[in-house]
Amino acid sequence: MNQDNNAHCLYLAIDDTDDIGTKGTGEIAEEIAALIQEQGLGRASMVTRHQLFVHESIPYTSHNSAMCFRIYSAEPNPEAIRALAIEHLLAESAPASDPGLALLNETDRCDWSALVAYGLNAKKRVLTKAMAYQLAEELGVQLSEHGGTGDGVIGALAAIGLRMTGSDGRYKGRLKLPAAEGLWPVRDIIEQTTASAVVDLTGYRLALDEQVYLSGKIKAVLLNHQQTLLVAKGEDGQWRNAGRQELKEY
C-alpha cells in the first residue's frame, strides 16, 4: 500500500483533543502533519475523519470522530515523529480533553486484520482503553495518552484501522477547484483536483465524459483506497456533488 517507491508508510491518529469552543481535533491533526513535513520527517497525506460509535456511555465532545493521516518517508524516524506529535498535543489540546495518540509503522508487519476489525467494531459498540492497549501491544502500535482520562487512545487506534480499510471517513477540508464552480466533466475533476474517482451514493463510478455540477462546499470521502468525490442526481437528472447531509454517513 506504499504510495512512493521505497517509501515506508506510517499512520498517525489522534482523538479527544478538543472541547466545546476550542480548536478541533482535525485542525490539530493538520498542524501535526504540517510540522512533520516542515521538519523533514516525511510527506504527510491529507487528514481523514472517521466516525465512531455514538452512545451515551461514551464521553465525547459534540461528535465522536477521530483523525488519521499517513506519513511517507524513505527513512522513517517514528520516535522523532511521535515526540513532535506529543509536544503539539500537549500545547494545543483543550485542558478538559482526553487526548490519545497512535502511531503505526506499516512495514512492521503485514497482517493488520485485527486492527481493521477493531476499527470496525469501534463504529458499532463501546470499546475500552484496556482493549485498545492490549491490541496495540500485540501489534506493536505505539499508543499513548496525554491528559484527562486518556480515553482518546480508543478512538486513535480505531482511526488507523478504519483508514486501513480504504473505505471509511471523509477528508478534512474541501476539495479545491482550480476554477469557478459550475458544470465539470469527470475527466477534469480527476485531472485538476486531488480526487481520483467520482462515485454516486450507490457505488456507481461515473465515466470520464459524464458531467457534474459542482457548487458549495465540495468534500471528498475515502472509498476503495481513493480520494473520491461523491455525487448524487438532482431532481433535474443532473449529477451534483453530495451535500453535507448525504456525507454524514461517511
Binding site: 466545546i20 459534540s62 451535500g243
Partner: protein, 84 residues
Amino acid sequence: MSEFSIGAGLCPDEEDAFVLQGERWIFRYPATDLIASRKAAQACNGFVADDEDEWLDDTELSCVNCARRRWLRDGFMCLFRSAD
C-alpha cells in the same frame, strides 16, 4: 431528492423544538428538518459553532451545526439546555 428537508417547516414558531425526557432536552423533530433546526438555534443564546467539518447545514446558525448538540442513536439532545 435528499431525505433532508429545508422546506417542510415542521416547527411552528410557538412550539419549543426540544422536549424534556428525564433530564435531557431532546430535539423533537428529525435531525433532517433543517428549518426546525435553524429556528431553534435562532431562538437560543447558547449556540457555539462546531468544527465546520461537522456541520450538517450550510446555514451556520442551526442546531445541527452546534457544538452543544450531542448526537444520539436517533436524533440529538442539547447539552446547553440539559445543563440548566
